[in-house]
């Protein structure tokens, strides 16, 4: 555990962990081409980036409950040093996903662009994606220290609670993207939901036993 804790404290290690999933598609597309992937490589990228964005978002949201539930656990402390970095990574993968969507839907022909926008706003599954993406964008641009100062800690915190809204929207978006319900939505979001429930429960307990000093 100590070893894991040490690794997770290092910024370089976390950067590496965050960048690797982005490089993964090079393997089935270029290194060892898989015809199931190269048949429509952009579609593969679209799904891959969407999936990674989802996982990274769920992971970063799990950090706080882990720390609240196990405050003495070194790993929970270690990962919480990187909250903002991991959060921004979720945004970057979401941005890659959305960009891929535009290239996928438009080819290299700009005359498709109006169609793409029409679909994004008229299809609920895509609209939820757009709202989630807008939230992540907002959180990413307000993540530098200067933004925290400018907003003030409390307002910043409230704003960043929108990440939970984004996660809910994304869970729906991901579930609706497939023709039949994808189980991956459950294994990404159910553990997160359980952690959140446990955290809220614990904070209430603590709040009850130790009344706030006035």
């Amino acid at each position: 555990m100590l070893f894991l804790e040490k690794i997770l404290r290092s910024k370089a290690a976390v950067w590496t962990l965050l960048v690797l999933p982005g490089l993964w598609p090079l393997w089935p597309i270029f290194v060892r081409p898989d015809p199931s992937v190269t048949a429509d490589a952009l579609k593969y990228l679209l799904h891959h980036f969407g999936f990674v964005a989802c996982v990274v978002l769920a992971v970063v949201l799990a950090f706080t409950p882990l720390r609240v539930l196990w405050p003495k656990w070194g790993v929970a402390q270690a990962v919480n040093r990187h909250r903002r970095l991991v959060g921004v990574a979720a945004f970057v993968y979401a941005a890659l996903h959305v960009t891929t969507h535009f290239v996928y839907e438009g080819g290299l022909d700009v005359s498709f662009i109006p169609d793409i926008f029409r679909a994004v706003v008229s299809k609920p599954f895509q609209l939820t994606g757009l709202i989630a993406f807008t939230i992540l964008l907002l959180l990413a641009v307000t993540s530098p220290n200067a933004a925290i100062k400018w907003l003030g800690g409390k307002r910043w915190k409230n704003l960043h609670r929108l990440a939970y809204v984004a996660a809910g929207l994304v869970a729906y978006h991901q579930a609706a993207a497939r023709k039949i319900f994808p189980l991956q939505v459950l294994w990404i979001f159910v553990p997160l939901a359980l952690l959140e429930i446990a955290r809220v429960w614990k904070q209430r307990q603590v709040g009850r036993v130790v009344p706030k000093a006035s």
């Binding site: 898989d34 015809p35 199931s36 992937v37 190269t38 048949a39 429509d40 952009l42 579609k43 290239v103 996928y104 839907e105 438009g106 080819g107 290299l108 022909d109 498709f112 169609d115 029409r118 679909a119 299809k123 609920p124 599954f125 895509q126 609706a176 993207a177 497939r178 023709k179 039949i180």
Partner: protein
Amino acid sequence: MHIRTPKDWELPESAVTSESLYHLSKRRDFLKALGITAVALGARQAMGATAGFPTKLNPAFHDAALKPTAYDAITSYNNFYEFGTGKDEPRELANRGWKTDPWTVEISGLVDTPIKIEVNDMIGKVGGIEQRVYRFRCVEAWSMVIPWDGFQLSKLLALAGPKADAKFVKFYTFNDPKSAPGQREGNLEYPYVEGLRLDEAMHELSFIATGIYGKPIPNQNGAPLRLVVPWKYGFKNIKSIVKIELTAKQPRGTWEAMQAREYGFYANVNPTVDHPRWSQASERVIGGGLGGRQRTLMFNGYDKQVASLYAGMDLKKFY
């Protein structure tokens, strides 16, 4: 007479199992009847239930402007939920012992002579196979161009003789959960069924495919025979057919039964009627690279041939 030279995918006759030899002899009889000599047959029998029948492009069903999709993509990017919901899974999982040779098809219901027929006998009875190059448009908004080998569906139905009160044709896929992991999982209601109106089924474009690019159809594409109705979305093109039933009542397809708002009985390719979750106005061209997007054509480009089947119908309602 068109004589094929052996291809690298073809096995020498000595490699063929005894069970297939039985069918081989039938193929040989059929080829002899066509005037193909034993020399031409040579060492060119292959694996696959329907291997060995000579095919020839039918120019009436070929548009020189169409660029066929690569064989690798056609056989690696498949929706065949019996073998998993991923596009890559059927290629893997349909080739782990699932037997498609020998294969028998039953034609029953409102017909003069219900029959059960082995697929090689079937090809003999309908007069052999030909190649047609068709557009293929999936409801998920991607498309391919596929050189199918096979025969016109109407010829097969004629073997049983639809009765006057038959109005629809219902197709059934095999049901064998032992061989098909998707059926074990129950990711859809099985067996997979699909249906056509009888006049759609009798249309000259409606086709039964037994091959792709002159090779027996691979398991992941629906061996040994599947439906191809090129003006409809791909899910209508039911794979690995074991039973065809003529009915008076409109059948309900598997996808329609599951989600009627998204998958209609007609499922005609129509760029003006969106899927609830995405637009059908354009499509991704498989193998088309970064610029691989094109506008979808009404009835997938077959409107001249099939529009009259739907004269007077509101296609927004009967999607």
